[in-house]
């Protein structure tokens, strides 16, 4: 018999101590970092960034050396911001026990649902929205975990990065809300099923200078492998609301307030007049009704016909119904199949019942509500009129003809109205510019710049996501340039070097992180209120409030920046909010 295997009987096995000699996670990690491919940039980001400074071969060799040096605490002060943060976890909560918590929501996959977070965010989960990693739809209940982050305290406590790299340049992101979601069933993670999307509505409050156009936020997703936010080609619907009684006047100066009020009122008047003029332009040439595309019946959904000739079907709330109703119904709906709409639940047994009467109510161009009644019992279904076979083909051909004709009519209408619309836009722009100039002049006479006047606004963004993770509604903002001179030091003489400092300014809903060292100055926006802080190893915060910040920033050639170390450690979110408020 040949020896295919070396079968060892009773071969001595190594002891746990023997095995432990081979264990070396740090070596493994270093090996991983040096071998990481460009798309494996978790810890490899250090290598990637250092490679900018030298030629490819030299950089590769130098990177390894620098990594080893960099991991040495004595050399930490040499690290740049990027190098320092690249070696930390990408999402790095500074106070582990005060991380923003996840809300757990049990979702019945057959029902979906709408869920709210404490931060005003909303999540709409459709039915049959989840699949396992083999692509199989999940049945039963899924645990959806989510947390929304909306302001600088949330961003700080969650430890989310707020920077964006593009073409080798580093930018800061301002946020109109961030949401993190994951889902699991019996501990096994699940994902969003193909062709399904979860609708997310994020709410955040931002400060805008008076009269400034609302900024447009875009959708980003955190790529945890590449360690960066990645802009997503996802449409978002954005709205901005005023927050009643929330206007903040930094100077709290009455003449200024009066001016602001007058400006806001004049601006609103221009916009109201513009909207009215636009409406008048639009109705001057009525728009033709868009033809409705026929829907083909879906064999996966039940469908049925309704008989209109025996008076058992009643159409409700249709002002277009002519007096000779039965005749109209026959013509309108003869041969139509009514298909139970997706997301509508039904009991098949109900299809066997001989219902006495049906009420049909049009909800929109596609959806109708049918209420079937028998005696005291009634049920409702949402249905769609559908066609099948040759009638569908005929209707589709007719629709295509009608649609082409409709487009032509719309183009002709647009051309006819364009001149008037453009003239209106130009006029409104000029009116606004004139008003703005007048406002700025009046403010200047009081010694105030418009940038100093911030109004709090609520930004709401709605978009759909097709996978779980960390999503943000952000926009890139300009870098802050002004350097803060001097060492950070608290009232007890403790210096804060080689550690992370956090800075926020009132103009932008973001958080700046700085690795404080000689080579890495803290930068800020001198035109804004700024709040600066560091976290000590025992979770206390040493803070520089806006008023003090302004004083410190105005001093030339200072040697120290005095921060105020608070007595109590941060133990809950409210503690952090109290310390990091603007007041």
């Amino acid at each position: 018999m040949s020896n295919n295997y070396n079968i060892l009987r009773n071969h001595k096995q190594p002891s746990s101590e023997d095995i432990a000699k081979h264990k070396d996670f740090d070596a493994l990690l270093a090996k991983y970092q040096t071998t990481a491919q460009p798309n494996q940039k978790r810890q490899g980001a250090i290598v990637r960034r250092l490679a900018y400074v030298a030629t490819a071969i030299a950089a590769a060799a130098a990177s390894i050396v620098l990594i080893i040096n960099f991991l040495n605490p004595q050399d930490l002060h040499k690290a740049t911001q990027e190098e320092y943060f690249a070696q930390l976890p990408l999402v790095n909560p500074p106070i582990e026990q005060v991380k923003p918590t996840f809300t757990k929501q049990i979702v019945d996959v057959n029902a979906g649902g709408t869920f709210k977070t404490g931060k005003g965010a909303r999540i709409v989960v459709p039915t049959q929205a989840f699949m396992n990693d083999r692509g199989e739809l999940i049945e039963g209940e899924v645990n959806l975990h989510y947390r929304a982050l909306s302001d600088h305290v949330d961003f700080f406590l969650a430890g989310v990065p707020m920077t964006y790299d593009s073409l080798g340049k580093h930018y800061q992101l301002e946020s109109a809300g961030i949401i993190e979601l994951f889902a699991e069933q019996n501990g096994a993670p699940v994902q969003i099923a193909p062709n399904k999307a979860i609708e997310v509505e994020l709410v955040a409050e931002i400060y805008l200078p008076d009269g400034n156009e609302a900024p447009k936020f875009n959708i980003y997703k955190l790529d945890t492998t590449a360690r960066e936010w990645v802009s997503q080609d996802v449409k978002n619907i954005q709205s901005i609301e005023d927050i009643a009684n929330a206007s903040q006047n930094i100077n709290n100066n009455n003449p200024v307030n009066a001016l602001r009020s007058e400006y806001a009122s004049d601006l609103a008047a221009i916009e109201t007049a513009a909207a009215e003029r636009l409406r008048a332009i639009e109705v001057s040439v009525p728009a033709p009704a868009e033809p409705i595309k026929p829907t083909q019946s879906n064999s996966q959904r039940p469908s049925f016909e309704l008989k209109f000739d025996d008076g058992s079907v009643i159409i409700e709330d249709d002002p277009n119904t002519p007096e000779d109703e039965n005749e109209f119904l026959k013509q309108q709906y003869k041969g139509t199949l009514w298909q139970i709409a997706a997301n509508t639940t039904y009991d098949e047994r109900d299809f066997q019942i001989k219902w006495d009467v049906f009420h049909l109510r049009k909800l929109n161009n596609r959806d109708y509500e049918i209420t079937a009644t028998k005696g005291n019992r009634s049920i409702k279904w949402i249905v769609n009129p559908v066609l099948t076979g040759a009638p569908y083909q005929r209707a589709l051909a007719q629709y295509e003809q009608d649609y082409a004709a409709w487009q032509q009519q719309m183009n002709a209408r647009d051309a006819q109205l364009k001149e008037e619309r453009d003239a209106l836009q130009t006029d409104i722009k000029q009116q606004k510019a004139a008003l703005r100039k007048q406002f700025e002049t009046k403010l200047a006479s009081l010694g105030v710049k418009t940038d100093d006047l911030l109004t709090k606004k609520r930004v709401i963004n709605r978009f759909e996501i097709n996978n779980l993770g960390l999503w943000a509604c952000d926009r890139i903002i300009p870098a802050v340039e002004q350097q803060l001179q001097g060492k950070l030091e608290d009232q007890f003489g403790n210096e804060y070097e080689q550690q992370v400092a956090y800075l926020v300014n009132k103009k932008h809903n973001t958080i700046y992180r700085y690795y404080v060292s000689k080579n890495n100055p803290i930068r800020f926006d001198e035109q804004s209120d700024n709040l600066l802080w560091v976290v000590t190893s025992d979770n206390k915060i040493a803070v520089l409030k806006p008023t003090d910040f302004k004083k410190v920033a105005s001093q030339k050639q200072k040697k120290t920046v005095k921060v105020n170390l608070l007595d109590q450690p941060i133990q809950k979110e409210e503690d952090a909010r109290a310390v990091l408020s603007w007041q």
Binding site: M1, N10, L29
Partner: protein, 205 residues
Amino acid sequence: MFSNLQINRTLVKNEPMRVFKKAVSEEAVLEEWAEIQAAQRDAAMFRPLYDRYFESIYRFVFRRTADEELAGDLCSQVFLKAIQKLDTYQFKGVPFSSWLFRIAANEVAQHYRQTQKTRVVSTDDSDLSDMMDEMEENDDEIHLSNLTKVLDTLDVKDLQLIEMRFFEQRPFKEIADILDMTESNAKVKTYRILERLKTKLINLA
């Protein structure tokens, strides 16, 4: 009144989805999943997983190589690949350890393919006796010796099943997870191999 509803289509019901059995408690799985997610974000966070599984992976490799240094090297390779592939890891209802054992099995196989050396199989006499009991055969030395001879005739896939089941005492569920097959398939295959081995043993006697 005649029924107004005329059903044209009937619902095509979805088959009930497969529900995975839990190999460990839900709590432990969730806890481990959190660790995996942290490691997916940051490789440095892989440490607790490494600490937890290093010894069992090392033993798995050592039983197939009988060489401490080689086992150490291959073990490092297993964990390196695990970190590198961690982003692609998705929980398939199996413990993370099974994913690691699968990588380890592949590494061992690759090692033997590259070196053209003879694959090592480690077993104890007590394991062989258990096998003989299962086949309702005597477990005296002659029979045990014959068993090693017939084991030598197995192809490597069949040998892996026997190795995991009888020499490492793994439950069928875990074997199935590691070899990416169903539990019942693992059972059926194992007992078919035992039947073949038994026939060969009888012929050998």
